[in-house]
Assembly symmetry: C2
Homo-oligomer: 81 residues x 2
């Protein structure tokens, strides 16, 4: 089973990397670009066939290691059996 | 209109960050973790109402700035009006 995890900064947390991207896009001539936010995307291959067990595992992984839950949100999708 | 862009390393490209995450998950006691790949996730707010124009713009942004297409793939979703 494969988990696709998106980790994003919470609203209100300053995102200098996103600001830099927005600025660079402007410099390249792209107009009409509003807010840009950068996060992380992680794919984890799990040796787990039970969906509930996999969800539980992924949640614990996010809480313990992958996301800093003080400033970041996480969301995930599970795919495959 | 909001674009959600996922940028991932192409298959076969070494991903030391992913390997480090897999190793750390193992050290934390998570078993059954296979391949881990880390990529980037970027949200771009676009001042654009036409879907085709927005897609074209996002593709050019990815090619020119956001993704290194030699070693990375990108995928995006558009959301909103």
């Amino acid at each position: 089973m494969k988990a696709r995890i998106k980790i994003t900064l919470k609203n209100g947390v300053l995102d200098p990397q996103g600001k830099a991207i927005a600025h660079a896009l402007g410099a390249l001539g792209f107009d009409g670009v509003g807010d840009v936010r950068q996060g992380k995307y992680i794919e984890v291959e799990l040796d787990e066939t039970d969906r509930a067990a996999a969800e539980d595992k992924i949640q614990r992984m996010c809480e313990q290691l992958l996301a800093n839950t003080v400033i970041e949100n996480y969301a995930y999708e599970l795919e495959g059996s």
